[in-house]
Point group: C2
Chain length 351, copies 2
DNA sequence: TGTTAGCACTCGACTATCGAGAGTGCTAAT
DNA sequence: ATTAGCACTCTCGATAGTCGAGTGCTAACA
């Protein structure tokens, strides 16, 4: 039940046209614009077949055809040719993406901005998920007799700290001892590993003061680890979608915005996606049935993985956008490579 | 050119009615609902005068009257009576606002969520501006021979750190020395003070290695201070405005959203506002001419000042909303009081 | 002099109708 | 298998008519 060559051509033409003009496309205009050497009537017959197979739909009797999710899926999988970036887009990315390994957050947010500007869609970017980050060392710093700072440093330069206040004073020695003690226990282990296995573990110690202090510190330690695992999600260019014809109705626009407001849900959804450029179309997304979501991954030290993506109506320029995202994430990963390449010791210059 | 008692009554009635129903209000309905003891005709005459004075406008000839910005201003300044919180709102705030001094960001975001839920408007909250925060100590921690962490700790428990990589290795001693050296120099001074006065200062030192290290660290030090000064801005409930009749037009909704997208601009605007509950109406805001913005301030240790606010159409329940915000910020400030009251030493429980 | 009833007038909102245009689906001819 | 021809369907925009809410004015009234 494969499609004939001609059917594929027609389908492709319809998709191209519809993506361009956002209006149901008729047999006549296909025949005129893309010379397939057949008459509108023939095209009509083929269209009817394509509709029966689920590749096209019909807003109403006397309107043209619109590609279905299934059609876009076919297009993305088989029909689409890799598109070369336009010189303008390439230049834009090269010039404007000043990535600094020391400033993930800023860089990532920047990338999302850039992406939404280039694609004219809404974009988002996630800082790397630190699940596979390994602990480099742990330090406890005194502030005053009952207040201290707990600091966890990861091998990729991730640093997270919490200030905590105890009920009872602690001693300087026990603090230093505990720092070393914890560093020895956890060094080289991943956050995931520690969080899963450590919580229940009993903390024995010869020294009474140390055991007590550790008992007080552990809850914060766990909370801080969880903090480290939290990814930040940045969203940009949401208002771009107002310019698209599919969102001129206030209701659709509202739905779209409400979806985005559920950041936590969205984050979970994103984390679950595979590596590389992933496209999910319409019904393939359980909510947002009329959106397409394209994500791509970038890497930090080849270990941590962050995501960046765009979201828009199913009608979008798949070829262009996937190319842009591939290029962009390659650039990002390049910038986030292991230190040494960069050479520059001090803070990167500002934007 | 003061308003007569009756004019005030009529104006108040119009405002009340319009705020409630979002529709231009006519003389007849005023006469019926609020018995002022006069006929619609009389009210019409007064309305005409009020319009001439700029308190009312007229969408078109045969429509009712709508309060102008000037009318709302009069209402807020003179007419409005302080409203007691509804039991429901009070309970909601008491129960749901779990404030923890250790987790500003989470608490603040939570407060914004709550506020938008109660008011059915868009809300935002800013973490405290740290301008007046004083430095408690500065610490440099070794990671590897060329990598180190710079950590600045403020007196209110603010901790910020940066990882930096040097071109050349440093020695352990110079690192410790510089830590102490910097702490001595900056302890007790406000961030503002240090940023303004320190940058140009020459860093002399007897020891060659120390001077060199300090030269390498200073740019990061300044950048980290700037980081500490950055406030976070959280926005919540933006989609609430879609339910308001003034935003059924896609264009207005778009304008509103675009305004919010300019976070940096918005932050600047907010920082410039006075303490306490501040209401700016329509034209009083240079952009967003048809919005009202209400902000209120909360305090941390009576020193740092954060802001929380709502934004919506000029037509809003000023009395209710200002009361809610007053109550909410009082609660927040209470929770963020100096340590010692709270008693609880460990991490607060999760939500 | 302030208040009120009465009335003509205005304007937007809604509804109905109509024609134009685009596009289909079917049939019959090639 | 392809195509031309044609009737049919449906949307969209324009036009017109009606209804109702509300004003502004005038004249009468207390």
């Amino acid at each position: 039940m494969d499609l004939s060559e001609r059917q594929l051509q027609i389908l492709q033409a319809i998709i191209t046209d519809y993506v361009e003009n956002a209006e149901p496309v008729g047999s006549r205009s296909i025949a005129k614009k893309y010379d397939l050497g057949v008459s509108p009537a023939t095209i009509r017959n083929e269209m009817s077949d394509l509709e029966e197979m689920g590749y096209l739909t019909h807003p109403h009797t006397s309107a043209g055809r619109v590609p279905s999710d299934k059609a876009y899926r076919l297009y993305v999988n088989d029909l689409m040719k890799k598109k070369n970036l336009s010189a303008k887009d390439k230049r834009m990315i090269n010039e404007r993406l000043v990535a600094s390994r020391d400033e993930f957050d800023r860089t990532i947010r920047h990338a999302a901005e850039l992406l939404s500007e280039i694609t004219h869609l809404a974009s988002f970017a996630m800082t790397p998920a630190a699940n596979q980050e390994t602990i480099s060392f742990i330090r406890l710093l005194p502030v005053d007799e009952r207040t201290l700072i707990l600091m966890i440093v990861g091998d990729s330069g991730n640093v997270t700290n919490t200030t905590l206040r105890l009920n009872v004073p602690y001693t300087q020695e026990s603090l230093e001892l505990l720092s070393k003690n914890m560093t020895v226990s956890y060094k080289g282990r991943t956050l995931d590993d520690v969080l899963k296995n450590e919580i229940a573990e009993d903390v024995g110690s010869d020294i009474e003061a140390l055991a007590q202090l550790k008992g007080n510190v552990m809850p914060s330690f766990i909370r801080t680890l969880e903090d480290m695992l939290n990814v930040n999600l940045y969203m940009e260019g949401m208002t771009n979608i107002f310019n698209l014809p599919e969102y001129t109705s206030i209701d659709r626009a509202r739905d779209f915005m409400e979806l985005f407001a559920r950041k936590d849900w969205f984050t979970q959804k994103m984390l679950a996606r595979d590596d590389g450029v992933v496209v999910t179309i319409g019904e393939e997304n359980d909510k947002m049935k009329d959106c397409t979501l394209i994500t791509a991954t970038y890497h930090v030290d080849g270990k941590l993985v962050g995501k960046i993506g765009v979201i828009g109506p199913t009608r979008m320029k798949y070829d262009e956008i996937t190319s842009i995202m591939e290029y962009l994430t390659n650039n990002l990963s390049e910038s986030f490579r292991l230190p040494g390449d960069t050479g520059d010791g001090n803070a990167g210059k500002d934007e």
